[in-house]
C-alpha cells in the first residue's frame, strides 16, 4: 500500500503490461487495512482519557463516543475502499507489476531477474478472514519490496508460485528445455499439488535423480545453479526422508499439514520446532523469563497507579511505557519467532514458516547471508539446543532490522542442517563437529586470539576470536554463549583502533565489518591483532564469494552422509573432545 519509491521503475516494461493482466486484490481488503486505523484511534483515545471516561460516564457521552467511532470507521473504510479500488497487481512473464494510489498514482514493477524471494504473511485479522499478504523482495537496498495485500490464502500460495516460476525462468535461461520432467519420484522433495516447476526446477528435479551433488554440476550457465541445487537437496532429502521418518516426513495430500504448514511443504525439511520444545526452551531462557517478569510487574504497577492515582499520571505512564512497548515486543517476538516453526530448503533458498497470531513465511537465499550468530543460553546447554540468527543483506525489515531468526531453538541435528544449507563450508575436516566444539567447549580451551591480561578477568575466560579457513568466528558471552561467524570472503574492510588506556597496555581493538553487521574484538594483544589484520586485509581484497551454492568449493556441510553415515547424534560425537582431550 505504501507508495514508496519503486525499486526499479522500468517504465518501458511496466507500461507494456496489458491492462487485462491486472487483477484486483480481495474485496475485503479495505476492512482489514482499515481496521488498524480504527484500533489505533480507539487505543489512543482510551489510553489518554480512561480515567475521566470512567469517572464521567453517562449514556449520552457513550452515545457520542460511539457515534464518533462509527464515523471514523465509515470514513476509514471508505478511504481504504477507494485505495483498494485503485490497487491492482499483475504477474507476467516479465515480472510483477503493482499500481496503487488514489491521488498520486504509482506504478511499480519488479523485473523477474531481480526478484529475490517471495514471502506470504498472514496477520491475525487477515488470517481469521482467510486472507494473506504476498511480499515480493527485490534485490537492492532500502524498501525494495512490493506488497500484494490482501488476497485469499490459497490464491497467495498460487501467486507465490507464479512469481517464483517467472523468476525461475529468468534464472534457468537456455537450460530450460534440457531437463526431462521425471515426475515427483524423488522421495525427499515431494512436490505439493501444483508446484512451481517451471523449466528450471523441472530440470533440477530431473537432475535430482543423479548420483549426487557432483553429478549435476554441468549445464548452461544459467541453469547450473538450480540444477546442482536440486541435486543437493535431492540427495539430502533422501537422507532426511530415510532417517527422520517421525517428525518431518514429507507429507503429501495431507490436508491437516497443508493447513498447518501454510503451504510450506515442498523441499527438504530442515527443522521443525514442536511447541513443547519451544515452551521448554523459553522457560530455560533467562532473558525471556526476565522479560516476562518485567511485563507482569509493569502491568501490575501500572494498573495499581491507574487505580490509585485516579487517571493516568506521569507515574503510570513511566511504568506503562516499557511494559507496553518494549517487553511485549521482546516476549511476543520470541514466541512469534518460534511458534510452529518449520524450515524447508527449496530451490529458492531456505523457506521458513512461523507465527502464532501473525503467521509469516520468509525465503532466505543462502547467497545473501552476511553473518550468522549462534546463541546458547546457559540452561540450554544440557539439551544442546541452539538459536541461529542470520543477517541478510537487503532484507531491510524494519521489525527485525535485517537480522532474522532462522532457527529459534534447534537440536544439534537441525543446527547442522540449517548451517549446512546456509553457509559455505567452514573449511575444517568436520564442520559440524567443529561448530559443536566452538559452542560447547569452554572459551579458554578454544585456541585462538583472546585477551590475556590478568585484569581482563571476564573477557579472558569468555571471549576468543578464531580464524578458520573459511570464517572468522568470535565466541563470547558469559551465560548465553554466542558464536558470531562472518565469512572471510565477505569482509568489507578492516579497522583497528586504540584508546589511551589500550595504548598504555599495548592492546588493540579489531573491527571487521560485513554488510549489516560488525565483528568487534576489544582489548586484544597488539601483535596478534596486527597479524590477523594483515590476513583479513588480504582476504578482503582477494577472496571472492562464489556467486551461488553450485560453485561452492566443497560439498556443503549438510551432506557428509556419503563419507560417514551419522548416527542420530552423530554430529556431536566430537562434542566432548576438547574438554577431555589434550587441548588443555
Amino acid at each position: 500500500m505504501s507508495a514508496s519509491p519503486a525499486p526499479a521503475p522500468e517504465d518501458g516494461t511496466a507500461s507494456a503490461v496489458p491492462e487485462s493482466a491486472f487483477r484486483r486484490t480481495h474485496p475485503i481488503t479495505p476492512l482489514v487495512s482499515g481496521w488498524k486505523v480504527i484500533a489505533a484511534i480507539v487505543a489512543a483515545v482510551s489510553i489518554q482519557n480512561i480515567g475521566s471516561l470512567v469517572r464521567e460516564f453517562t449514556l449520552t457521552r457513550l452515545l457520542i463516543g460511539l457515534g464518533i467511532l462509527a464515523v471514523v470507521i465509515v470514513v476509514s473504510i471508505v478511504v481504504s475502499a477507494l485505495s483498494w479500488r485503485f490497487t491492482a497487481y499483475a504477474i507476467t512473464e516479465d515480472g510483477v507489476a503493482l499500481r496503487s494510489g488514489v491521488l498520486t498514482r504509482s506504478r511499480r514493477f519488479a523485473p523477474r531477474a531481480r526478484i529475490d524471494s517471495v514471502s506470504v504473511e498472514r496477520p491475525l485479522l487477515a488470517r481469521l478472514l482467510g486472507l494473506a499478504k504476498v511480499r515480493v523482495e527485490v534485490a537492492g537496498g532500502g524498501e525494495s519490496h512490493l506488497d500484494i495485500a490482501y488476497v485469499r490464502a490459497a490464491d497467495a500460495e498460487r501467486i507465490r508460485r507464479e512469481i517464483l516460476r517467472a523468476a525461475a525462468s529468468a534464472q534457468a535461461g537456455p537450460a530450460a528445455s534440457a531437463g526431462p520432467v521425471s515426475g515427483p519420484s524423488d522421495p525427499g522433495s515431494v512436490a505439493p499439488a501444483g508446484p512451481v516447476p517451471a523449466a528450471g526446477s523441472a530440470a533440477a528435479r530431473g537432475a535430482g535423480e543423479g548420483p549426487g551433488p557432483t553429478g549435476a554440476a554441468v549445464g548452461a550457465d544459467g541453469g547450473e545453479r538450480s540444477s546442482a541445487l536440486g541435486a543437493a537437496s535431492g540427495a539430502a532429502g533422501e537422507e532426511s526422508g530415510t532417517r527422520d521418518g517421525a517428525p518431518g516426513a514429507p507429507v503429501r495430500g495431507n490436508l491437516w499439514d497443508q493447513v498447518v504448514l501454510d503451504g510450506v511443504s515442498d523441499g527438504e525439511q530442515i527443522a521443525r520446532v514442536p511447541t513443547s520444545r519451544l515452551v521448554h526452551s523459553m522457560i530455560r531462557d533467562a532473558e525471556f523469563l526476565l522479560g516476562a517478569l518485567a511485563l507482569l510487574l509493569g502491568l501490575v504497577v501500572a494498573g495499581g497507579l491507574l487505580l490509585w492515582d485516579d487517571g493516568p499520571g506521569l507515574g503510570a505512564a513511566v511504568a506503562l511505557i516499557p511494559a507496553l512497548v518494549a517487553v511485549p515486543r521482546l516476549v511476543l517476538g520470541k514466541i512469534e519467532a518460534g511458534w510452529g516453526f518449520v524450515a524447508r530448503m527449496t530451490d529458492r533458498g531456505l523457506r521458513m514458516r512461523r507465527g502464532l497470531l501473525n503467521t509469516r513465511t520468509d525465503n532466505v537465499p543462502p547467497d545473501r547471508i552476511q553473518e550468522i550468530t549462534l546463541a546458547q543460553p546457559a540452561l540450554w546447554r544440557s539439551q544442546r539446543w541452539t538459536r541461529v540468527t542470520a543477517t541478510v543483506a537487503g532484507i531491510g525489515d524494519s521489525e527485525s532490522e535485517g537480522s532474522l531468526t532462522v532457527l529459534p531453538v534447534g537440536t544439534p541435528e537441525e543446527l547442522r542442517r540449517t548451517v549446512g544449507h546456509l553457509l559455505p563450508p567452514l573449511g575444517t575436516e568436520d564442520d559440524a563437529a567443529a561448530l559443536g566444539d566452538l559452542l560447547g567447549a569452554r572459551a579458554r580451551d578454544i585456541p585462538g586470539m583472546r585477551a590475556t591480561r590478568r585484569w581482563q578477568w571476564i573477557a579472558r575466560r569468555t571471549e576468543v576470536v578464531v580464524l578458520m579457513p573459511g570464517f572468522l568466528v568470535r565466541r563470547s558471552g558469559i551465560l548465553t554463549r554466542r558464536l558470531q561467524m562472518i565469512s572471510r570472503d565477505r569482509i568489507q574492510g578492516v579497522g583497528i583502533s586504540q584508546g589511551p588506556i589500550e595504548r598504555r597496555c599495548g592492546l588493540l581493538t579489531l573491527t571487521v565489518p560485513v554488510a549489516g553487521a560488525t565483528l568487534t574484538a576489544n582489548g586484544m594483544e597488539q601483535p596478534e591483532v596486527l597479524a590477523m589484520r594483515a590476513v583479513l586485509e588480504h582476504d578482503s581484497a582477494h577472496l571472492r564469494r562464489y556467486r551461488d551454492r553450485a560453485r561452492w568449493p566443497r560439498p556443503a556441510l549438510s551432506a557428509p552422509t556419503e563419507h560417514r553415515p551419522l548416527p542420530p547424534d552423530g554430529p556431536d560425537a566430537g562434542h566432548e573432545d576438547p574438554r577431555d582431550g589434550e587441548q588443555r
Partner: protein, 182 residues
C-alpha cells in the same frame, strides 16, 4: 580424533604483518594530508569561534549585571571547547594519513583515540569527491569511499584536488577490475 575436529586457527599467519611496534599503530609510512587543511578547518570554525566569544561575553555581562555567578560554568564549557579546537586542530590534521596500497586504501586518524581502517578496492561501491566552498578556495577536496557496510566507509578530508581526482580514478578503475561488492 581431537586434532581432527578442532578448528585449526592460523596461529601465525604467513603474510608479512607490519610490525606495529612504533607508536603509530601500524600506520607507518602513510602519506599525510595537506597542511592547508589546518587553515581550512580554522576558517570553517570561524563562525563557531565567534559564537563562542559572544556566549562568553554574554555570560560575563550577565554575571556582572545580574550577579548570576553560575553563568561561569557555561562560559567555561564553551571556552574549553573553543580552546581545544584552536590548540589541537593542527595536531589532529597532522595525525591524518592515507595510503593507496596495491589492493587497498588505508586511512588513519586520531591522536588520543587512534584508528586505522582499510578498505579493499574490490569492495568499493561508490566514490565521491566533495569540495565545500572553503575547501575549493584552498584547492582541497574530500574523498568519500562507501562500501556495502556503513562501518567500513572512509572519508578522507584535506586532499589536494589533483590527489583526490587521482584516488577517485584509481578507486573507480580498480573497483571495476576487481569488483566483488558483497
Amino acid at each position: 580424533m581431537d586434532a581432527m575436529s578442532t578448528p585449526s586457527p592460523d596461529p601465525s599467519p604467513a603474510p608479512a604483518a607490519p610490525p606495529g611496534a612504533g607508536g603509530r599503530l601500524g600506520a607507518e609510512g602513510l602519506r599525510p594530508v595537506s597542511e592547508t587543511l589546518i587553515r581550512a578547518r580554522y576558517l570553517a570554525g570561524l563562525v563557531g569561534y565567534a559564537l563562542a566569544v559572544l556566549v562568553i561575553a554574554g555570560c560575563i555581562v550577565v554575571w556582572a549585571w545580574l550577579g548570576w555567578w553560575w553563568t561561569v560554568f557555561p562560559a567555561l564549557l564553551v571556552l574549553i571547547l573553543a580552546l581545544q579546537s584552536l590548540l589541537l586542530t593542527p595536531r589532529r590534521v597532522r595525525a591524518l594519513g592515507y595510503l593507496d596500497r596495491e589492493d587497498d586504501l588505508v586511512f588513519a586518524s586520531g591522536i588520543m583515540f587512534r584508528s586505522v581502517s582499510t578498505v579493499a578496492f574490490a569492495r568499493v561501491q561508490s566514490v565521491e569527491v566533495h569540495e565545500g566552498p572553503i575547501e575549493r578556495s584552498l584547492g582541497l577536496a574530500t574523498l568519500s569511499v562507501s562500501t556495502a557496510s556503513a562501518e567500513a566507509d572512509l572519508t578522507i578530508p584535506g586532499l589536494p584536488r589533483e590527489e583526490a581526482e587521482r584516488l577517485r580514478a584509481l578507486l573507480a578503475r580498480r573497483g571495476v577490475e576487481t569488483m566483488a561488492a558483497l
